[in-house]
Amino acid sequence: MSAEPETRPVPGGSPSAPGVHPRPLWSFRPRSDREAGDAVVSNFLLHWFPAKTYKPSLDWTYSFWLGTASAALFFLLVLSGLPLLLLYVPSVERAYGSVKDIEYVVTFGSWIRAVHRIAAHLMVAVVFLHLVRVFLTGAYKNGTGRGQRREWNWVIGVGLIVLTLFLSFTGYLLPWDQLAYWAVTVGTNIASSVPFVGPEMRELLIGGRTIDQATLIRFYVLHVIFLPGAVGALFAYHMWRVRKDGGLAKADRWVLETGKVETPAGRTKTYSLLGVARGTAPAIKATSLQARDLTVNAVNDLVRRAAIVTLGTFAVVSILACFVPSPLEEPANALVTPNPAKAPWYFLWLQEIVTDTTIRIGSFTINGAFLGGVLLPGALLALLTAWPWLDRSSREAAGVWFARDRRRQNLVFLAVVLVVLAFTVVGTFMRGPYWHFYWPWQPWPELPTRI
């Protein structure tokens, strides 16, 4: 009888029915929009990408892909940290020796350590540049999409840069060399300068009243478990929020530039799962359906660029690690402070600030440790966190470099960035023995390195 439905088996054994495909319908080289969309749905590694992306938001010169590069560096740090985790010994007697072994005895050890160290330095720089980019483009602002919470993603981002700095701090003291020991001394004394609770905080941080084994194991566990775990969790939320907010802020430009109004709320016909679930139609739907020429499939256009950035980052770090050796100072010596004792470059602006902020009002003195080490950075951080709520510019300023609307705040922000950079340069190149100021062309006096 011809009325019987066709149940002829297909090669591969799967039944042929609507929506059931005999073979997985995804590929890194999709031949149709359908296949491109299926790739995002079917593949675990691709599931966090949208099906379609607003083409201009992929521009190299809009985001410079700094967020992707940061994520790649973090991934590389986790990977290169794994062998180091097995080679390093977190004990005050053996930490220095084990790092020395990694550097001089273990095959490829110095390269792995260099990869880890260079990636860490680059991550601080790239995460900072990412923050600068997001600020200057007003990308923490909500544009035309519904239910956007970009301001909260900015807050997550501020949390991530703070975690990045803590990761660097806890990382560079693990070798337990002179840099490490005196960095812990100064760092925990800054915590100790907080009125009332300071000394207790320091005791909790270093696990006692003197810097010893309890200190090393605390910072070690923070470095290898708690802080990377926190970065991983916040990073996942950061990415999820980007998707929820309809992509980069630049993606909102489409509605503004074409004069299209967002679809009114309510139960309208919608083609996106998100819209169905909420009973609303997000702007991304309108963009992808109405402006086919302005959108591209995430597979493969977005994936290709993300892969170029990620692999490019890996390549740059791997190659640099072959040529840039990682320093190791003398073993930690509680008896001698190096002269000058300098923090790594990304903390030198803070070292410069704690130098300059001890103020005297009559007989009353405020230690620069508290003013410059706690209050000032704390205020800066609070201001940075709260900025999306202080920014009163129009939504047209979201996702635009140097928007006219935000000119004044961009200038103020750049001024602060310049001050931080200037302090970093002064601390790096113009501070000699006893933290005295020397111009780069002035020779440092010959001083004994030991007392």
């Binding site: 001890t358 933290w435 007392i451």
Partner: protein, 183 residues
Amino acid sequence: MTTNPAPAGAPPAPEPAETDNRRDFLMKVGIGAGVVALVGQAGASLRSLVPNVSYDAPTTVKLGLPGDFPDGLKFLPDQRLFVFRDGRTFHAISAVCTHLGCTVRAEALSRTEEKEVAGKPLRITHRFLCPCHGSKYKGDGANESGPAPKPLAWYELSLAADDGQLVVDLAHEVGHDFRLTLA
């Protein structure tokens, strides 16, 4: 088959409002118990990280026989301490910077000077410089420039009763008029 919604003899169904109250109450008790348990466990975990015992180095330390100290300054790295001798008179100044705790270094002055410090004469032979943030101290420990908020600490010196060694008490700060003069 017939159904009887309210069989005879069974207790009357409670009022809906009452049920809600009871469920509400039990829900609150449950959530409350959960919160208390979580806070308690988190608190216990954090408390375990606050040290109960501190294996500090002793604060009273024998430094050696007074006769073994040179005239002028001697730096004792283990105690982070400068001990000064002027004939039969001794005093000790801490080498811990009052700004952020680095060890300051002594720099000999080109010529020594006699000065009244806290009403008593003192021979000043050195000044102190901090390598971390550039604090400067005068020879008596007074903070002169840089971020240091207060003078270097002076500690009490005494003689051990048993063997006559010089003893410092690092838990006992003294004023700048302190001198230990041997007979």
